[in-house]
Subunit: 80 residues, 2 copies
DNA sequence: TCATATTGTTGTATTTATACAACAAATATT
DNA sequence: AATATTTGTTGTATAAATACAACAATATGA
């Protein structure tokens, strides 16, 4: 299982699934499947999405659950 | 099409396909397919391989052809 | 050189990712 | 509230990734 932040990245940009799907050239329902975790993106699609969102691939996809914002902040504080 | 450096990374470590395959829990022939570019790794396998080789994912996989060592050196020199 | 291990090739089977359609449920817009 | 847009669900179809087997070709090592 691979975790992803597609939904967050997408809504941050104020895009609908259809718009994102068009941008990376997949069916709009494919975006839905990915966001719900029904299946993983292919490597190819993962690269396209990361590129589209202008983030490194492992900021959009991770083999381990992403930290919540609260956890990120706690980690930052601990690292001071 | 996604490019990869699995063959290089693997032979740098002096491993056979079988050994690498066992380490990332796939069939040894799957490694062969990937090395020959017959098909792409899944995102899951890509993460496992990158982790195994201790390199960032995009050092092992890229949507664009990797530079040769000569090109890398030329780029380094140009950046001086 | 002979034996063994590794790699390449071909072929079949299964699983997973993607496409597409129809329609219901939920949100947003006017 | 009525309408339109977006999202969720289910179902079918195809393509791509993976497993596995058998065997040929190459390379490695005794």
């Amino acid at each position: 299982m691979i975790y992803n932040r597609i939904k967050t990245l997408r809504s941050d940009k104020g895009l609908s699934r259809k718009e994102l799907a068009d941008a990376v050239e997949v069916n709009f329902q494919t975006i839905g499947y990915l966001e719900r975790g029904d299946y993983n993106a292919s490597l190819e699609l993962a690269f396209k999405l990361a590129e589209f969102f202008e983030v490194p691939l492992d900021m959009a996809f991770s083999p381990r659950p992403f930290k919540t914002i609260a956890e990120e902040l706690a980690a930052l504080k601990a690292a001071e």
